[in-house]
C-alpha cells in the first residue's frame, strides 16, 4: 500500500508548467511595420497574454502564445502593427 503509485496523491503541483501552446488559435497575426514603430512598448503593456517583448533587436512576438486578438494593432497610435491573415502557424 505505501508503495502504491497512487499513495499520497494531492492535487498540488509546482508551477508554472506550460506543455500546451495557444498559437494555433490564431486566424490573424500581427505584423510590425518597423518603419512606423517607435518602440514605445504600449503593445507589450496592453497584450492580454504578454507575448510582445521590447528587445534591443526591436519588437519580438512569441508565436507559441500569440492568440491573434488584434489589440496591439487597434491600440497602436502610429498604426505600426497590422493584422494579416494567418497562412501557416509556425
Amino acid at each position: 500500500m505505501p508503495n502504491s503509485p497512487h499513495a499520497n496523491l494531492a492535487p498540488h503541483l509546482k508551477c508554472p508548467q506550460r506543455p500546451l501552446t495557444t498559437g494555433s488559435w490564431r486566424s490573424m497575426r500581427p505584423q510590425v511595420q518597423v518603419e512606423k514603430c517607435n518602440l514605445c512598448g504600449l503593445c507589450d503593456v496592453l497584450c492580454p497574454d504578454g507575448v510582445i517583448k521590447l528587445t534591443a533587436a526591436g519588437l519580438t512576438i512569441d508565436w507559441d502564445y500569440c492568440k491573434g486578438c488584434g489589440i496591439c494593432a487597434t491600440e497602436c497610435y502610429r498604426q505600426a502593427m497590422v493584422m494579416v491573415e494567418e497562412v501557416a502557424n509556425v
Binding site: M1, H6, A7, L9, P11, L13, K14
Partner: protein
C-alpha cells in the same frame, strides 16, 4: 503526571486544543459546540495558548480559513455542530480531496426541521462520504484523548486526511465528568510538531488544488481511499501508543465489551455505549449472554474487526442515532454490509432511537435486547428496522 479536572466534554476538547497548540483557529459559534471555541478563545486571551484566532462570519468560512492556513503550513483547529456542519458541506471534500491534515470537533446535534439543539448523529453521519475520518467518543475523557490521537492520525504522512472527533451534544459536550489532563510535555512527546508536505513558499511557486480532466481525477480519489486504508491500520497503533504513554486504555477502531462469549450483542456509537454496558451487565446476571460493541471509527469503517467480534453471535442489534430516510440507520447498513457473506445466519435488528436528544433509557436498551433474543428464538425478525421510544 496529570491533573484531574471536573469538566464537560467541550472543555475537555478545549484543553486538548490548548496542549495540541494549533497555530490557527477559525471558529463560528453554534450550540452545542460554542463553549469549545469560547474556552479556546479564553486560553488565548489568558496567554495559555499562542494561536491566531480568526473570527469568521460563518462555518463555511471557518473551514475555508482553516484550508488557507493549512496551505500556509499551519496546524489548525475548528469545531461545529449540525446546521453549521451542513453549511460547511462544500468545504469538507475540498479539504479531504486536497489531503489537508486537520481536526474538527463536532458536538453532534440533530438537523432541523423541526428545530432542535439536542444531540443525535444525523449531522456528521450525513457527511459520511466527504472523505473525512470520523471518530465517535462516549465521554469527556475519550473526547480529550481522541483529539490528541486525531492530530497524530491526520498528520501521518500515509494518511493526510482530515478527522472529525464527534461527541454527543449535551450528553458529552455539556456534562461534567472527571477528566485526567496530562502535562504538556507528555502531550508533546506523543504529538510532534506538524511537518507539512506542502506549504506556501513564494520562492517555490505551487498551484494548490489544481483542476483535472477525467483522465486524472479517479487516481486522486483512489489515493484518498489509500489514506483511509492507512488510517484503518494506524488507528489501533496510535491508540496503543497513547495507552503506553498516558496509561489509559483506548478503544482503537472498536471496543468490544463482554463480546467474547456473547450470544446477543448491541452495536453502538457514542455516549449511549456506557448505558448499554450497564444494561448488558444486568442481563448477564439474569443469565443472558449479552455484549456491547462500540464503533469508534465510523470512517474508515472497521469491517474486519467487527466481523471478528460478531461472527459467532446469534442475535445482533444495531443502534442508530440517525436515520437514512427511505432505508434504515446508517450504522445498520454498514454493519450488515460488513457481515454479509462473512458469518452464519444471524438475526439482525436495526434500532432507531435517541433522535433529537431523546433520552435512551436503560429500559429502552433492555427492550432492544429482548427483541434480539426473541428474534433468535423465533428464528425470524418481525421488523428489521424499529423505532424505539416513539410517543404513542
Amino acid at each position: 503526571m496529570f491533573e484531574r479536572k471536573f469538566i464537560n466534554g467541550n472543555a475537555a476538547v478545549a484543553h486538548a486544543v490548548r496542549m495540541i497548540q494549533p497555530e490557527v483557529i477559525a471558529a463560528y459559534p453554534i450550540t452545542p459546540q460554542s463553549t469549545i471555541v469560547e474556552k479556546v478563545a479564553e486560553f488565548i486571551a489568558q496567554g495559555e495558548l499562542d494561536a491566531e484566532y480568526i473570527k469568521v462570519e460563518s462555518e463555511h468560512s471557518a473551514l475555508a480559513a482553516c484550508f488557507g492556513a493549512v496551505s500556509a503550513g499551519c496546524r489548525v483547529f475548528t469545531a461545529t455542530s449540525s446546521q453549521g456542519l451542513a453549511y460547511m458541506c462544500e468545504m469538507l471534500p475540498y479539504v479531504s480531496g486536497n489531503r489537508m491534515p486537520m481536526v474538527m470537533a463536532v458536538a453532534n446535534r440533530g438537523m432541523a426541521a423541526p428545530w432542535t439543539i439536542w444531540g443525535d448523529h444525523q449531522d456528521s453521519v450525513s457527511m459520511r462520504d466527504q472523505g473525512w475520518i470520523q471518530l465517535y467518543v462516549e465521554n469527556a475523557q475519550e473526547a480529550f484523548d481522541t483529539c490528541l490521537q486525531a492530530y497524530l492520525l491526520s498528520e501521518d504522512s500515509a494518511v493526510r486526511t482530515p478527522v472529525m472527533v464527534c461527541l454527543d451534544g449535551f450528553v458529552v459536550s455539556h456534562t461534567d465528568e472527571l477528566v485526567e489532563l496530562p502535562d504538556l510535555q507528555a502531550v508533546q512527546q506523543f504529538l510532534p510538531t506538524y511537518q507539512p508536505l506542502y506549504s506556501i513558499d513564494p520562492a517555490t511557486p505551487f498551484t494548490f488544488s489544481i483542476g483535472v480532466a477525467p483522465d486524472r481525477y479517479m487516481e486522486y480519489k483512489y489515493s484518498q481511499q489509500l489514506g483511509m486504508d492507512a488510517a484503518l491500520h494506524l488507528i489501533p497503533q496510535i491508540s496503543a501508543r497513547f495507552a503506553a504513554i498516558f496509561g489509559r486504555e483506548q478503544a482503537g477502531l472498536i471496543d468490544a465489551y463482554r463480546c467474547a462469549d456473547a450470544e446477543y450483542v448491541l452495536v453502538t456509537m457514542g455516549s449511549v455505549t456506557g448505558t448499554a454496558r450497564v444494561v448488558a451487565d444486568k442481563l448477564r446476571s439474569s443469565g443472558l449472554k449479552t455484549g456491547v460493541l462500540k464503533v469508534r471509527s465510523f470512517r474508515p469503517f472497521p469491517s474486519k474487526a467487527l466481523v471478528e467480534v460478531l461472527s459467532q453471535v446469534k442475535g445482533i442489534g444495531i443502534l442508530d442515532r440517525n436515520y437514512s430516510f427511505g432505508n434504515q440507520g446508517a450504522l445498520g447498513t454498514e454493519v450488515k454490509a460488513a457481515l454479509a457473506g462473512n458469518t452464519a445466519q444471524q438475526q439482525i435488528i436495526n434500532f432507531i432511537a435517541g433522535l433529537g436528544g431523546r433520552d435512551i433509557k436503560p429500559s429502552d436498551l433492555e427492550l432492544m435486547y429482548q427483541k434480539i433474543v426473541q428474534a433468535v428464538e423465533l428464528d425470524t425478525v418481525a421488523q428489521p428496522v424499529e423505532f424505539i421510544g416513539l410517543r404513542g
